[in-house]
Symmetry: C2
Subunit: 122 residues, 2 copies
Amino acid sequence: MVKYTSAQLDDVFQALADPTRRAMLKRLAKQSLSVGELAQPFAMSLAAASKHIKLMERAGLIDRHVQGRTHVCQLNAAPMHAGMEWMRHYEQFWTPKLDVLEALLRTEEKTASTPQKARRKR
Amino acid sequence: MVKYTSAQLDDVFQALADPTRRAMLKRLAKQSLSVGELAQPFAMSLAAASKHIKLMERAGLIDRHVQGRTHVCQLNAAPMHAGMEWMRHYEQFWTPKLDVLEALLRTEEKTASTPQKARRKR
DNA sequence: AGTATATTTAACCATGTGGTTGAATGTACG
DNA sequence: CGTACATTCAACCACATGGTTAAATATACT
């Protein structure tokens, strides 16, 4: 199990926090694309698209290999793993809580003075 | 299966793209806390912490209920679900690829013309 | 009423983001 | 060699961020 640095998470989440970039990644999931191809569907200059790509490169989500005059971008989803792992710890909180018990237990963890039926100790 | 809006994802990923905010959420996973309590561990002004909290509120990750003069913040992890679902589509790409085949298939989809070992030159 | 506590608001600063246009760089091609 | 193409760089703009301090608000306490 790998450990991820905070800065890594910063960069990945940051990269994903923009619809243009998410759309680019989506396309890259199907095939590698040049900068120009990646930019084409968007109503923005090439320079703007180039900046988005650079930001994703910084996050490690895109690998680039220059081939002649074109730069081919390839998805590298691996860094998302870090974000996924981070979020996974919270999955329990949106997962249907079939029992109020679980919530109560968490509350009591803090309270620590309500002995109720068991748990008393510490 | 719920569908998530792009703006929702923007806000959630944005909220998670900062170590201070992630640390705050981590503490809220254990117990609800007032703004002051939430801010206490950090070397920053209350005003700064207050802004972080507001940003997470905007993302729906924190619910606030005012109780007298203190504002109690409660984790609401549900919006993370959207981010998790989005990422899940990419899980296949960092998951161990036991077969090179899959990668090849994706590549060929694009190439479609390079005849084998040729590729001579250029 | 007056004071202390909890939090937000306002004004400000430096830096980042998302975009533009125009010039520079590097590579391919006739 | 000269020109076209692919992409970046530089300068600029408006606005968001992450932080500060100081003042404003709201509630509680005596």
